[in-house]
């Protein structure tokens, strides 16, 4: 299986350890990740210049299309934005014209379909390039059953709550990821990995990271409250599947927020499969 790997901006500089865990996990599952000269997904430009954010997304998609590969990203914000960019491209004529011109500048062009390497069959098929999130890929291509059968070093039943993350779930009309109010992909994967998944009232609520650079106080309060409520729910860890959620929970919090730490799902799964994904123990100690 081959996919174009889209780590996103935050992994390359701020959260390299998450990127390494994802790469090790994929290598262990026999998926080869191809590095393309991708740029930013466009998410940060959403509130500044919509056309720029759409161009950024479409350039990545056109690049992957050129190579005939689907895109795999471990970041939900990148995932959501790549989907959203394409949505705006298809529904806004003015933006599409602008984007097409800019793509042509780099010798690229967007096509509805093209010959794409199909992850499941390994053959080339004429179809649109698909954007996959790590969870969605694990759930639909690898499947929780197969994963459960490959567990080598079953985890001790860590008590976790899941931070579902927003941009993959919502808006469903654009992302088509999972049920936006009662998601089950992440839960099934976590259960298959041997985690003790607890119910948490704030599971599908935003982590607060987007305010981290501007309204720091808001981000801080959300982080504190969510960590405390996860502790109250009986969890030891918040399991994340998005770079931004992980970064948000890794920022400083006061001592009274409880003992809960965030660990990416890729790290849990990698450990359960006996792969060198950094090890849960290391993450328990230093966070990032």
């Amino acid at each position: 299986m081959r996919l174009a790997y889209f780590p996103g901006c935050k992994i390359t500089f701020g959260l390299a350890s998450y990127g390494k865990a994802v790469e090790a996990l994929m290598a262990g599952l026999g998926v080869s990740l191809v590095r393309l000269p991708f740029n930013c997904c466009g998410n940060p430009a959403r509130g500044k210049k919509l056309a720029a954010s759409v161009l950024a997304a479409m350039k990545n998609i056109a690049l992957a299309q050129d190579k005939g590969l689907d895109i795999l990203t471990p970041c939900q914000c990148c995932f959501g934005q790549l989907k959203h960019g394409r949505h705006w491209y298809e529904t806004r004529r003015e933006i599409r014209e602008k984007v097409d011109l800019a793509l042509a500048e780099d010798g690229l062009a967007f096509r509805e379909t093209g010959l794409v390497h199909d992850a499941a069959s390994g053959r080339l098929r004429e179809r649109p390039v698909r954007v996959r999130h790590l969870l969605d890929f694990l759930y639909r291509e690898i499947t929780p059953q197969v994963l459960a059968g490959r567990m080598k070093m079953p985890l001790k039943r860590e008590r976790v709550v899941l931070q579902q993350g927003c941009h993959a779930l919502r808006p469903y009309s654009v992302t088509r990821f999972d049920n936006p109010f009662a998601p089950r992909i992440f839960r099934e994967l976590a259960l298959a990995s041997g985690l003790d998944v607890l119910d948490w009232s704030k599971e599908i609520e935003c982590c607060g990271d987007p305010a981290g650079d501007t309204h720091k106080d808001l981000a801080f309060r959300m982080r504190r409250d969510k960590l405390a409520s996860a502790a109250a729910a009986g969890a030891d860890y918040i399991c994340t599947a998005c770079t931004h959620c992980q970064i948000q929970y890794s920022r400083p919090v006061p001592g009274d927020a409880g003992h809960v730490r965030a660990i990416p799902f890729a790290v849990f799964l990698g450990s359960a499969l006996g792969l060198g994904t950094g090890g849960v123990e290391a993450w328990k100690q230093d966070g990032v």
Partner: protein, 572 residues
């Protein structure tokens, strides 16, 4: 003597320039030292391997671009050799007792080194004119300082070129030959001199004006040219310092070509003219060293000497500008080729998105303050687009800690009074933002601005979104029934209760009142976390979150307008 005096003057000027450069860096540094400890930590964490590998072997450049590394290596090694063995031969010949500029291997090595430097510089020039990923036309519009980067290269090319020309004219010059004969031999007349001349004309490419056919001896008898005797005389007087010049693979063929021309201009001593030109170019290069691109020879080792800041430490160094890093940039443009937000530049046409442009502006800003509000605001905007992905710093051949610079740039602009759009939007009063007297007056005065009729002037802020934008289409929000489901689902409303102004449903209502401008300044719009909960729960299928984001896009333009007014007010 003249050269020595000139050299001393030039060296003094160069040293003064260096002192000026470093003292101005230190002065700038003082402005930004937020606290000494952070600075000390930043300065003294040295990276010894980095200094060694990056300065001498340029490993980072090798990783970034093999071809450019090769070109750079040609210039670097060639130049170092020429500097040590050729320019400073008076001192360095003590290390090789047999040194003479006219014998092997020095003549060959000098030509080789010169050719290397020349070839490398030519590659630089060609590459500067043609860039791969970055569209040249766009850059031409944005970058006037491009020219400056080529000046040093051109001066070096002139230096090398004049050197080769001087050497070839020197080889061919009859006058030079006569001078040497007078100084180093006791030959004063024919026929011996003619034999030697003939030998030198054949083997040493000296161009004599008169054809050497026969020699006349003391008694007036002519005898044929005896090259064998010429060879013996050559061995006796010349060979110690002059081997055959054919190994000078650049100068010797040139001498054969240019010799006759030089001979015709003989009285003017073109060999001397070019010698002095050669020295002159060397002095120019030396004199302007501290102020030209050549300064990177000093700055890069300084910049690579510091360890890069890790992501978690970077916020602690907010106020500290890495000044060695600022000077180490050679505008190679690798950073802009890998820049993650290059698409932002394509859409906004703001060159200040690109790292290698930002660093130049930042340097000016650090030195002069806000000298041009327009440029500084573009820098602020471009730096705001940056996602801090660190790809620029990863590829930077000079090893500049760029992410740290971008963080420091924001702090610097905050200090100098050029806030980002977010800050402006949060600080602006309602009256400033809308440009109206009070809330009531707005609603009264703008009642004609019904949704769907919002004019182009107001829509100007959202030009990229065009009139197809959701906020410009009444049907995108007019069905709102004010049920408040969105506000109840909104984490900003929940966590920021005391500080937030409107809930999402109230923002929708402002739109229905035709008050897009007012809505675009609301805290709700700027603090929206884009979790899309409001949009997902809306029973009327209104794209609430997308509308909030579009309003923020429009608000950016208004905020920039306010900042511009503010800055103009400050300077005027």
């Amino acid at each position: 003597m003249v050269i020595k005096t000139a050299l001393i003057i030039v060296l003094v000027l160069c040293a003064a320039g260096l002192v000026f450069r470093f003292s101005s860096l230190a002065r700038l540094g003082k402005v930004f030292n937020r606290d000494r400890q952070t600075l000390a930590a930043a300065v003294f964490r040295l990276d010894y391997a980095g200094i060694l590998f990056n300065t001498l072997l340029q490993v980072r450049l090798f990783r970034a671009g093999k071809f450019r590394w090769l070109a750079h290596g040609l210039v670097f090694t060639g130049f170092i050799y020429l500097l040590a063995v050729h320019a400073l031969d008076e001192w360095t010949q003590n290390f090789f007792a047999w040194y003479q500029p006219g014998i092997e291997p020095f003549r060959f090595l000098r030509n080789l080194a010169g050719a290397m430097v020349g070839l490398g510089c030519l590659i630089f020039l060609v590459r500067r004119v043609s860039r791969s990923r970055i569209n040249l036309e766009r850059l031409r519009r944005g970058l006037r300082f491009r020219v400056r980067g080529t000046v040093s290269v051109v001066v070096i090319l002139c230096l090398i070129g004049s050197g080769f020309v001087a050497e070839c004219l020197n080889i061919a010059s009859e006058y030079r030959f006569d001078e040497m004969v007078e100084e180093y031999s006791d030959l004063s007349g024919e026929p011996e001199l003619v034999h030697l001349q003939a030998y030198w004309a054949r083997d040493y490419h000296v161009a004599f004006r008169e054809a050497l056919t026969a020699a006349t001896d003391g008694e007036g008898e002519t005898q044929p040219i005896d090259l064998e005797e010429g060879r013996e005389l050559n061995e006796a007087y010349c060979l110690e310092c002059h081997t055959r010049p054919d190994t000078a693979f650049v100068a010797a063929p040139l001498a054969r070509l240019a010799g006759p021309l030089g001979a015709r201009a003989g009285e003017l001593r073109p060999d001397r003219v070019f010698y002095w030109l050669h020295v002159g170019f060397a002095f120019v290069l030396l004199m302007f060293f501290p102020f030209s691109r050549m300064f990177h020879l000093v700055a890069i080792p300084l910049a690579t000497a510091r360890r890069r800041m890790s992501p978690d430490k970077i916020d602690d160094t907010m106020g500290v500008l890495d000044l060695a890093g600022l000077s180490a940039c050679t505008h190679c443009g690798f950073c802009s080729q890998v820049c993650s937000v290059y698409p932002d530049y394509q859409v906004s046409d703001n060159p200040q998105v690109l790292p290698h442009v930002k660093i130049e502006t930042l340097k000016r800003l650090a030195g002069k303050g806000i000298w041009d509000p327009g440029v500084v605001m573009r820098l602020r905007s471009g730096n705001d687009d940056c996602t801090r992905c660190g790809l620029c710093a990863d590829i930077c051949p000079s090893g500049i800690d760029l992410v740290r610079l971008w963080t420091a740039a924001d702090a610097l602009m905050d200090r100098l009074g050029c806030p980002g759009n977010y800050t402006t939007a949060m600080d602006a009063s309602f009256r400033q933002w809308t440009g109206h007297g009070h809330a009531g007056a707005v609603v009264q005065g703008n009642i004609r601005n019904l949704p769907g009729q919002i004019d182009i002037r107001e829509g100007a802020g959202a030009e990229a979104e065009g009139l197809s934008g959701l906020i410009n289409q009444a049907e995108a929000f007019e069905h709102c029934v004010q049920c408040t489901l969105c506000t109840n689902a909104c984490p900003v409303a929940a966590y920021d209760l005391g500080q937030n102004d409107f809930g999402p449903h109230q923002v929708m209502n402002l739109l229905r009142l035709g008050e897009a401008q007012m809505a675009s300044g609301s805290k709700m719009v700027w603090h929206c976390l884009t979790c899309y909960m409001c949009q997902e729960v809306c029973p009327q299928s209104i794209r609430v979150a997308d509308i909030l984001l579009e309003l923020r896009c429009r608000g950016q333009a208004r905020a920039a307008e306010l900042t511009r007014e503010q800055l103009k007010g400050d300077s005027g």
